[in-house]
């Protein structure tokens, strides 16, 4: 009766309701309950340009294995109402054999739903809610999905109890009544798409968004100061950090704009406190001049860019990987620096911690390129391993000679004094300077300091953190990607392997400096290389091509936002290519 087996390893559902209907809360409760039951999964949202009252859909995928991206179709769609639903229904259609539950009072489903090969069941969600004290449509929806996918009421109630705890016992009981009503209604549908049992838990699970994970990773790395100017989809990094920093003796200042926020963190870092800010493309554009200052004055800072669709204001709520160019090439002058990118939500923690380590060790700006698709996704992950770096600035020690803040050293890193240290006074400067830091327009000073800074950036031991190489290493077919699309590429390779088609994955966490040796090593033996990136112009492809030879057959799967490239598209490309 449906395309899936009765016990699916993956189920995707959407709860649709206009803003304020509580669709997101319902999705979050279900995801967390699934996590408590041992499944993996993730939650993303589809929101409109209106801040409230626009369309909202909670998009949830549950999986027996770690899941890093949304499916391209829904197996179950619960519509509290259909307001504006046609806007996203085309981006994520109902699967053939899928189930659509809608309230007859909400009117006819959109054309795309009516034309889909799916079962439409009517359920008076609104009436059910009204018939119960304190009844809420979104809680009825929670009950519907609980029954359809085979979650336990007990687990769901554990989550509801913590979420509604502050509203008192009655609110929790009202919630339970709604959920039970939903369960009962769904039991009568005669149609279920239940999950296969979860694999045994080998470690604790976390439920976290990419933006939160970046914030936490930064704190793990030692960040104790942040300056903030809000921008979608980066604001949650800053909102996470505000109380979190305060709880560990740090501080966050809300700045008047990004010109201020970047310069505030430069000032704080000059004062010895590891510092961070987070922004998105428009803010990064404003920060570029001062990022150059951080490079020239050798002030360690981390700038997180949660990329969205550009250029200009673009589509603020949707994802793209199109800030690679500005992050890598946006500086005037020759400003060596570092750009890194987390390989999915679970990796945000590590990559942010690593970014702080690099910035502090190299006394350099580090740009971390996350994006909306991972920043705002709430994901069930295995508890991340503890990682520890020996992070510290090369300290200034008092000597007899006058202090040289920008002294040439073997590794290019100079001892850095901190205000308060006697004998360590210097003026940090964006002007070309001597080793002591005095302004200079001499040719040799320009050369010496450029070389010094290049030495520290290029000579640093980035270890094996440059990226990942996975899959059948005998395969001559490589999917080469970076950052947030790593998960989709990984799933594509798994799907291909199940069909007996071999391909391997190479994905970069280190975008600048390009890890030449590691990348060439990882590509050795390849005949075909498929570049995969979320950028209209193929920024990643051009960047890599500018740095290494590509003596392979090369193709590119690259596209602008807002539609995220998914595993199936990647698999299709490889399948067709290999069949030729």
């Amino acid at each position: 009766m449906n395309a899936h087996s009765d016990h699916a390893n993956n189920i995707s559902f959407a709860i649709v309701g206009s803003g304020g209907a509580g669709a997101m809360t319902a999705g979050a409760i279900l995801l967390e309950a699934a996590g408590k039951s041992g499944w993996y999964g993730l939650l993303n949202r589809s929101v409109g340009p209106q801040i409230r009252g626009g369309e909202a859909a909670a998009l949830v995928r549950l999986s027996t294995k770690p899941a890093s991206c949304m499916s391209k179709q829904f197996d179950i769609l619960v519509a509290i109402d259909w307001k504006n639903a046609d806007r996203f229904i085309n981006a994520m259609p109902v699967a053939s054999g899928g189930l659509v539950i809608c309230d007859p009072a909400a009117g006819d489903p959109p054309k795309a739903v009516l034309e889909a090969d799916c079962t439409i069941v009517q359920c008076p969600i609104g009436e059910l809610a009204k018939s119960l004290p304190g009844g809420r449509e979104n809680m009825i929806s929670v009950g519907l999905v609980t029954q359809l996918v085979g979650l336990s009421l007990e687990r769901v109630m554990e989550v509801v109890a913590t979420k509604l705890g502050s509203k008192g016992e009655a609110a929790i009981e009202n919630g339970r009544a709604c959920i039970e009503a939903g369960i009962q209604a769904a039991a009568g549908f005669g149609h279920a798409i239940s999950m296969a049992p979860p694999a045994e838990k080998t470690c604790d699970r976390w439920l976290i968004t990419g933006n939160e994970a970046v914030g936490l990773g930064a704190l793990r790395g030692g960040i104790r100061f942040a300056a903030a100017y809000p921008i979608t989809p980066a604001t949650e990094v800053l909102e996470y950090l505000a109380p979190a920093l305060a709880s560990v003796g740090g501080a966050l200042v809300q700045a008047e704009d990004e010109l201020a926020s970047i310069n505030m963190i430069i000032g704080a870092s000059f004062g010895g406190r590891p510092s961070i800010t987070a922004t998105s493309g428009p803010g990064l554009s404003l920060m570029m001049e001062s990022l150059g200052l951080a490079a020239a004055s050798e002030t360690p800072i981390v700038v997180v860019d949660v990329m969205r669709v550009g250029p200009s204001t673009g589509i603020a709520t949707k994802s793209e990987q199109s800030d690679l160019n500005i992050a890598v090439y946006g500086f005037h002058g020759d400003a060596d620096h570092v750009v890194v990118a987390p390989l999915g939500v679970a990796d945000c923690l590590f990559t942010a911690q690593w970014a702080v380590h690099i910035a502090e060790t190299l006394q350099s700006p580090v740009i971390l390129l996350s994006d909306q698709s991972i920043g705002q996704a709430r994901v069930l992950i295995d508890k991340p391993a503890e990682v520890s770096f020996l992070t510290r600035r090369k300290p200034f020690e008092k000597a007899d000679e006058p202090y040289k803040r920008y002294a040439v050293t073997a590794d290019g890193v100079s001892p850095m004094s901190i205000p308060g240290q006697n004998g360590g006074q210097y003026t940090a400067d964006g002007l070309t300077h001597t080793e002591r830091g005095a302004p200079s327009s001499a040719r040799h000073d320009q050369r010496i300091q450029l070389e010094k800074r290049r030495t520290k950036i290029e000579g640093f031991d980035y270890g094996d953190h440059w990226g990942v190489a996975e899959g059948d290493d005998g395969s001559d077919t490589v999917i080469l990607t970076w950052g947030s699309l790593t998960g989709a590429a990984r799933e594509a390779i798994d799907a291909l392997a199940a069909e007996g088609i071999s391909a391997r994955l190479v994905s970069l966490r280190q975008i600048l400096p390009v890890p030449l040796k590691a990348l060439e090593g990882a590509l050795a033996g390849a005949k075909r290389v498929l570049f995969v990136e979320q950028s209209f112009s193929g920024q990643f492809y051009r960047h890599i091509r500018a740095h290494i030879d590509l003596p392979y057959e090369v193709r590119s799967l690259n596209r602008e936002g807002p539609y995220i490239i998914g595993p199936d598209e990647i698999a299709t490309q490889i399948r067709e290519w290999k069949a030729q």
């Binding site: 976390w206 936490l216 704190l219 501080a251 510092s275 004998g423 006074q425 003026t427 940090a428 005095a438």
Partner: protein, 274 residues
């Protein structure tokens, strides 16, 4: 034990200023080093932060910790530093172009934020470094290659803006009066919150007419006040040449508690466990 005693020269570096002979900024540098000696804090506990311009070259000429940043952002660097390191004495330095034009927005918000630091603007009513263009404080009819015949715009009034935006200490001095400058800088540093001192500092090269300032400045006839309404009344009749402290307010400085302890993040991690 006696506190160590410092001389003005202890706050001066061995770098020779690039300024033109006769530039008012020499006197500002002198006043700052004298004020710091009076305060008696060791040079390593003082940070001098600036933007870009002739005036903004000043940090490297001191023996304090310095930051010579980008054009217009000295206040942001200084605020970040002071919040992160409340133990330091922080001076932010700008020119009229740096502070009121490209950095104008930060000026408003620094007054409003009221971080405990001192902001000294060396106002020569011209862009000196870029060789003589009108700034926000330049007279409307001042002729230049970039704005022939003058801008026709009425000048920006830094003291009015500072007062209206919430600065906690507002003063104007003339660079040539080193004694008064020194004393006002001491007062400004000692006053909690955001202190703003405009120092009229002639650009003898592009505004030779400003050599006359020494004859035009005069001590304000009205004493300082802690009442913003009285300060506002006085400032509306200001001819731009009044010197002295105008306003000393009682607003609470910006507060953020920072600690040198490492901080335990285990509770933050546990919050994500399900």
């Amino acid at each position: 034990m006696n506190a160590p005693c410092f001389k003005a020269s202890d706050y001066k570096s061995d770098i020779n200023p690039i300024w033109c002979p006769g530039c008012g900024d020499f006197h500002v540098l002198m006043s700052i080093t004298k004020a710091l000696a009076k305060l008696g804090r060791p040079p390593e506990q003082i940070a001098v932060i600036s933007g870009i311009g002739c005036s903004s070259r000043i940090p490297a000429y001191t023996n304090c910790y310095g930051f010579h940043g980008v054009h217009g952002r000295s206040l942001a660097v200084a605020a970040g530093l002071k919040v992160a390191r409340p133990d330091l004495t922080v001076l932010a330095m700008s020119g009229d172009g740096d502070g009121f034009s490209i950095g104008g927005n930060h000026f408003l918000h620094a007054c409003r934020r009221n971080v405990d630091m001192t902001y000294i603007v060396m106002d020569n009513r011209v862009y000196g470094m870029t060789k003589g263009q009108p700034s926000p404080t330049t007279e409307p009819d001042w002729d230049s290659a970039l704005s022939p015949g003058g801008t026709g715009l009425s000048p920006f009034h830094p003291l009015v803006i500072a007062l209206a935006s919430g600065a906690n200490f507002v003063a104007r001095e003339f660079s040539g009066d080193i004694k008064a400058c020194t004393e006002t800088i001491v007062q400004a540093i000692n006053h909690p919150g955001f202190s703003f001192v405009e120092i009229l500092s002639p650009c003898v090269t592009f505004r030779p007419d400003e050599r006359e300032w020494k004859n035009q400045v005069h001590l304000a006839s009205v004493p300082e006040t802690d009442d913003p309404a009285r300060a506002a009344r006085r400032i509306m009749t200001d001819d731009g040449m009044n010197t002295g402290i105008l306003y000393r307010g009682r607003r609470k400085p910006y507060f953020a508690s920072v600690s040198d302890e490492e901080g335990d993040i285990s509770a933050l991690e546990a919050a994500f466990e399900i």
